[in-house]
């Protein structure tokens, strides 16, 4: 695979008259941690669904791990990992069973599954609860396990959709260390979050506003360019450009036009 993990050009998706994603263009390098930000309803989820092969674009092009999103969505699904905020693990199964299940789905051999199970349980310090149902684990442990399970088939790219929502502060930071670790091994990470401090952990971020990419670049450069102290400040400025600090109708009108 080339150095470009994700290449997107003019990608667009309409639902009836409504343009959920409007000609977005960006690239993600192999091994990069890319933050995909935007207000609720800005089009992030729609864009992500196209990139992971679950939704056909209306127009534009996108290649993910070298595969075309129109013609090769099955190949994309095999070469990526995906973890969502809520459902990623089977709660009635144990950590060991979840790893075996996902390993099997992705076609790993028994020996591979055995070896990776041991490695993951040791790394996450979960050996002592490996045979308890996942439902009994604290949310933070579950999320760390879900991340590792999303990587069980050693995909080129992993998509994380609000992986740290509601997780305690220490676990949230341990989770980001897992992300750094994966990136340092060359895995590309595309992540969405509502925690603006997490945006600053990314190599580069994009901020979507009303279906378009309003800003794109390394957090430090964006802060310099827009003369703001934090990504939080930049986010507010871009997502509600008209009112500038006033709680009002202008921004909300744009927001409410977009269903989830």
């Amino acid at each position: 695979m080339s150095d470009i993990a994700i290449a997107v050009k003019d990608l667009t998706r309409k639902f009836g008259d409504f343009i959920a994603v409007d000609h977005i263009t960006f690239g993600v390098h192999a091994g990069e941690v890319f933050g995909f930000l935007g207000a609720n309803g800005a089009g992030k989820t729609t864009a992500m669904r196209m990139l992971i092969g679950l939704l056909t674009p209306t127009s534009g092009t996108a290649r993910v791990a070298g595969h075309d999103v129109y013609a090769e969505s099955e190949a994309i699904k095999r070469s990526i990992g995906y973890m969502s905020q809520r459902f990623s693990l089977y709660e009635d199964l144990t950590p060991r069973e979840n790893i075996r299940l996902y390993g099997g789905i992705y076609g790993l051999t028994r020996a591979q599954i055995r070896e990776r199970t041991d490695r993951m349980l040791t790394r996450l310090d979960l050996a002592q609860v490996a045979d308890q149902p996942v439902s009994r684990l604290p949310l933070g442990w579950r999320q760390k396990l879900a991340f590792s399970v999303a990587l069980v088939h050693e995909p080129h790219i992993v998509f994380l959709d609000e992986p740290t929502s509601g997780v305690d502060p220490i676990t949230r930071r341990q989770f980001w260390e897992l992300i750094y670790e994966a990136a340092s091994r060359g895995t590309t990470v595309l992540v969405t979050t509502h925690y603006m401090d997490e945006a600053e952990y990314c190599d580069r971020i994009s901020i979507m506003v009303a279906g378009r990419i309003a800003a794109l670049g390394p957090p430090s450069e964006l802060k310099r360019e827009y003369r703001v102290d934090s990504i939080d400040e930049l986010f507010v400025r871009l997502a509600r450009p008209i009112e500038a600090g006033r709680t009002g109708e202008a921004g909300s009108a744009g927001e409410a036009g977009r269903g989830q």
């Binding site: 609720n40 905020q85 502060p169 220490i170 980001w176 957090p219 709680t247």
Partner: protein, 308 residues
């Protein structure tokens, strides 16, 4: 009289202690926050306070009414917004609001002044089905429904969870305005940065209160010298900091690493220059090291480190 008084509240679910001897008071007119991650016990506590759940032990009163014995009177006077979206998705904005008003024997028109600051933002979409609203607008509608019977106290369970950073700000602006109108409000949130919006906060973790005070007092009580560290390779510098002989903890906080020191009584400037020398000798010649003022999140981490 306090708006809420809770004494040694406990609740178990099977083997889980959801709440373990929780005591606190909320004064009238206060904006009070329960800050903690999922599983802290926030929802269990709120459900007890609005009489939807009976505690195993301890007692609580809201507006002077006992949450078990006086539940009928209590329900007339509290406005409650549950954590999970609980409006009727197939009804429009206007229909939902009309429904909640009529349940409490009133009308939108009669209560218009009370709900106006929020309702004017919803009015352009009053015929839209609640299911088709964005996250931020759903929260505003739910707040409107919780306010329509003119409650004497508001209990909002995680109103901003899963909502984007901008809508969260707007929501807190609204709460600030309601507070100015004299309303007592109790809010829970997993977002530590929202703590500064409250008059007082309770840090909550695994069924316990770790501390109750103003956000300023909570961060002032932070004991250890705290440094901010920046370097080009964030991940490697983080690992290096943990090898420093006096290191107590090191965590990434946005674009800086927050590092605490084991030498509780040493002057922070001296520690900063010592850390800078250490990093320099470890190959990080470009490292930026400065003393920092702790945030509520630093305090929360310090309280929970031992349990983690």
């Amino acid at each position: 009289m306090s708006a809420i008084g809770a004494e040694s509240l406990s609740k178990r679910f099977g083997p889980t202690r959801a709440l373990d001897k929780v005591s606190f008071t909320v004064e009238e007119g206060e904006l009070f926050g329960f800050i903690g991650p999922d599983g802290a016990g926030k929802t269990t506590l709120f459900r007890i306070l609005v009489s939807l759940l009976i505690p195993d032990d301890g007692r609580a009163s809201v507006l002077g009414l006992d949450v078990v014995r006086d539940y009928r009177a209590l329900r007339q006077r509290v406005g409650y917004m549950p954590g999970r979206f609980s409006l009727y998705p197939d009804l429009s904005v206007h229909e939902n609001l009309t429904f909640f008003a009529s349940v409490f024997g009133t009308t939108i028109e009669r209560e218009y002044e009370q709900i106006k600051p929020i309702y004017i933002q919803l009015e352009p979409f009053k015929d839209r089905r609640a299911a088709a609203l964005s996250g931020g607008m759903k929260q505003k509608l739910a707040l409107c429904c919780a306010l329509v019977h003119r409650p004497d106290i508001l209990l909002l369970d995680e109103p901003t969870t899963g909502v984007d950073a901008v809508s969260r700000r707007e929501f807190w602006d609204l709460l600030g305005r309601l507070k100015q109108g004299g309303l007592t409000a109790v809010v829970s949130t997993p977002y530590m940065d929202e703590a500064t919006r409250c008059d007082r906060i309770a840090l909550m973790h695994r069924g316990h209160l770790l501390g109750v005070d103003t956000p300023e007092a909570i961060t002032r009580a932070f004991e250890r010298p705290l440094l901010g560290v920046r370097a080009n390779d964030r991940y490697r510098v983080l690992l290096a900091l943990r090898k420093y002989e006096h290191a107590h903890s090191a965590y990434p906080f946005g674009d800086v690493i927050h590092s605490t020191d084991a030498r509780v009584d040493a002057p922070v400037e001296a520690i900063a220059s010592d850390v800078k020398t250490f990093l320099s000798s470890s190959g990080f010649v470009d490292a930026w090291v400065e003393p920092l003022t702790p945030t509520v999140e630093d305090s929360f981490i310090a309280h929970t480190e031992d349990a983690a």
